[in-house]
Symmetry: C2
């Protein structure tokens, strides 16, 4: 197709983690929550669905933003709904941010290994990438804040995937202050961490924090994420979003989800408990793994190749994510499932190792 | 915010039609279907919701594309699912097409008066617009196919909004062949028309046809649209779409929707019947209005200003869409509601006129 932009023609699309249809796997490869969402979410979706879907949704998702602002008041005193922009998943938020700040030919900076979508977003926008490798202890060196080229946006997944590590908020504040461009802190996994960077948004208008309901609220299938930024930043970003990017069912479901604090506390607690067991059991079996701040664990075995292990587990009906980063190495990212799924994984691993 | 791209900072966001919350209007301003969607859609959504939303949706929306390909076989013999790309509403499709073909600084051509979003999409992409006015008889002159500037994409809403007129497929074929760039035929309203351009996709790989489930399937609140294009074109566009742009509920609901042919036939019939009455009654009351191929009617009154009428109707609880196009003029676009809503509208109009 000769009319396609060269950057699009040259790129490979983003490849999401395997989503097998049909066969039943113990699925620990895409960081989905192993539990069902709050019953209140299903009830809210049911009500909206029964009332009819013939009307357009609220383009501003007012209902969600009002409730979210109340909940975030503890972290950002004085926050109002105009600090919040809703997206069709946090991937939509990342797209909107990219299109708002990045001209074709500009540079987007991000760390490696990290979320692979940042590279895809740069390709689509016709931007260059400036990839800064994590240090071996998963900190970021001074290269991450240097002024080089037409740098117009930096992404920082925090907690990071696949490592599950988090850079402390004070260090993120220092990075944001030193960077000559806006910083998108991608907190898709922050609900599983001990800290987050929300309060930095109030201190520095170049800091934006993206959140997802996919993992911590068990709503990957619903597509809902949001961004927290200062109102004058949200004002610009809102011009770029599709007017009706969030549907009526997801707005109602997402609002019910953040409203059910008891469900959130209980589910988060269960996942953190299983994460602890997973980490300990992997280490006992000869895996090197880092303490995780997310709902997955990144590991490498001292004797077995990561790819062979991935394939053996897959053959045995257990899907984990094999990842290989050029110039960095490979490993397995294993999502935290239920205790029962953990039992299956460990039994299979014992048989393989 | 100094870091925002100049094209974004300079633009006004797209303003969707009024979506009043709280007060109950007879709402005839955004071309929503006045009927509830098929019960099969609600049942399908209910099933997926009850099964749980913790897993990511199928990025390829396979289920919908398989069923859609079967249904479109009558119009495009031999069509397979890889001729179809699903979107989070057809606005998402228009965005994907723009990002695939249009470089910053390129030119997008479209007619006026037409769908206002085309201009917004150009602004976001940093593109120039080349706007060609419709002739007074709602045909397009030769200026629409001229090679001028860095033309990289043309949009054609067919049937057009706000006029409700359609350019015959043979003429669209001629336009597509003469244009030096791809042509997106936006068929958001084609389900209400006598003809459509689907068959042109097979004849010319530069023709793409976008469809929406918002109007003809009463699913504006669900956000689902799709594009039909040749597989090598879909392949490029798929790189640009968000992997998980369609959620699990909308994929299931949209599939059930296109599957219920009896509902579609019945609802379409009702809307076309009311459209006929609306047109005749408006003409009797001194309105000049064009025969519509869509689910709305474009009209102007011989004596009353369109804006005054819009305001009086709004005060009386009836919302219609007032539109004014620079260098073209103004008018009212009235969506086809139920016969009961039509009765209310006509009673109010009789009182006003």
């Amino acid at each position: 197709m000769p009319f396609v932009r060269p950057n699009i023609a040259a790129m490979h699309g983003y490849t999401p983690g395997e989503q097998p249809r049909g066969m039943e796997y113990v699925k620990l490869n895409t960081n989905e929550n192993p539990y069902q969402c709050s019953p209140a979410v299903k009830a809210a979706i049911g009500r909206v669905c029964q009332a009819g879907l013939q009307r357009y949704p609220d383009p501003a998702a007012t209902q969600f933003r009002e409730r979210a602002a109340e909940l975030l008041e503890a972290e950002i005193p004085g926050i109002t709904p105009d600090w919040i922009l809703c997206g069709n998943g946090s991937d939509d938020i990342l797209t909107i941010v990219t299109r708002t700040f990045v001209e074709s030919g500009d540079v987007i900076r991000f760390a490696r290994p990290s979320y692979l979508l940042y590279d895809t977003l740069a390709s689509i926008q016709g931007a260059q990438t400036d990839v800064v490798n994590y240090e071996r202890d998963w900190t970021l060196g001074s290269r991450f804040t240097e002024l080089r080229g037409r740098l117009s946006l930096a992404f920082l997944a925090n907690p990071n995937s696949p490592s599950g590590t988090a850079i402390p908020p004070a260090e993120v504040a220092r990075i944001a202050a030193a960077l000559p461009c806006p910083l998108l802190v991608d907190e898709a996994y922050a609900d599983f961490a001990e800290t987050n960077c929300l309060h930095l948004v109030a201190e520095n208008d170049r800091v934006m924090v993206a959140r997802s309901l996919s993992k911590s609220y068990a709503l990957a299938g619903l597509r809902f994420g949001f961004l927290v930024a200062q109102p004058h930043v949200i004002f610009e970003l809102a011009k770029v979003k599709d007017s009706y990017n969030c549907d009526s069912l997801s707005i109602a479901g997402a609002t019910a989800a953040i409203d059910d604090r008891a469900w959130f506390k209980r589910t988060r607690g269960a996942i953190l408990a299983t994460r602890g067991k997973l980490t300990a059991e992997l280490r006992e079996r000869g895996f090197e793994c880092i303490d995780s701040q997310a709902n997955f664990v990144w590991c490498r075995h001292s004797k077995q190749s990561a790819h062979a292990l991935y394939q053996r587990l897959k053959d045995d009906g257990v899907l984990v994510r094999y990842m290989k980063y050029e110039g960095w190495g490979e490993g397995l990212r294993i999502s935290v499932g239920t205790d029962e799924q953990l039992g299956t994984l460990l039994a299979k691993l014992s048989a393989i190792l």
